[in-house]
Subunit: 209 residues, 2 copies
Amino acid sequence: MKVFKIPEATVMRLSIYSRYLHQLMEEGEETISSGEIAKGVGVSSAQVRKDLAYFGEFGTRGVGYKVSELYCQLMKILGLDHRWNTIIVGAGKLGSALALYQGFFERGFNICAILDVNPNIIGNKLGSLRVQPLDQLQDLVEQYDIQIGVIAVPATHAQDVTEQLLEAGVKAILNFSPRVLKVPPDIVFRNVDLSVNLEVLSFNLALNR
Amino acid sequence: MKVFKIPEATVMRLSIYSRYLHQLMEEGEETISSGEIAKGVGVSSAQVRKDLAYFGEFGTRGVGYKVSELYCQLMKILGLDHRWNTIIVGAGKLGSALALYQGFFERGFNICAILDVNPNIIGNKLGSLRVQPLDQLQDLVEQYDIQIGVIAVPATHAQDVTEQLLEAGVKAILNFSPRVLKVPPDIVFRNVDLSVNLEVLSFNLALNR
């Protein structure tokens, strides 16, 4: 499949729609309109139709969408018909929380390993994982065919860890450290700054002051 | 200040620009062009100019922006010239990680309290906070004039906690639970699903398969 220039915001909404459809499947719903999806996730129905239109025609006019079919199609678009092997670097509070977060597994991400450099942390148990030393990175990425690396180390070490992940052969990086990182253009890369989300709130609160 | 219909993606980029400017201030930089900001954070320079144009004229043609002035203006736009009192509900792994996350404090969010219903967790120390029982919610929100509530409870309890936060008088909610929640339109609301971020990666990895 070749699809170009899909806005990232659209991809994020597709992810949210697919989650809402899963919730509806659990509740036994069979069909749904774009208006109902829109209401359920809090966007306009024009937005829902526009987002889905990037990927062709899904629904039937006047009938809407079959919940389970649309769910499966969205999961395929999101690359979630495949399971992705993932490694976390940094086993502090945030890295540990990520390693234990059930949502990743449920959506198709296998957390294969978590690494740290701190000898006081190495060997700690996190669910079914044990924290391993960072120098195992290359071996683990090869052994488990790991495609995604998650960076949960302090800002000062983030660029260093990025380069180690790339050298080990990881194809995509999710960065939780609050630092602007340099990666080659062929690597799929995304920053997650937890504060940014709070700042979208404070921006809107400040408008109403 | 009244600014309407600023896209959320713009607000998130303003937050990222402000962080990059702070990094430059630490490095002693005095002026910067939109092209340099763009390069530093990985977007086009047209995007930077467009984002900043929502809020009027900042730079000087041919000279660029004064780093510290642009930083202060962005922080004001983001509502970060003010400190926001914040409460976290749910002291599991994720809630604990959020409570200990230094980035919130650095950007202007005071985590005033963290609550849970589990007697085995209540009383646990997290940095300078102690986990308090959920039934303290109303009192704490009043006592500290808390505006923002962060939901880090299991999906099945999320709607319930939302209603308790609203009843206590919170004006904005950041939801980390993987559930679609109902909130009144006058409440500032935002979902954070940590998996969504991994799914933006898998979407892009799937395109290249």
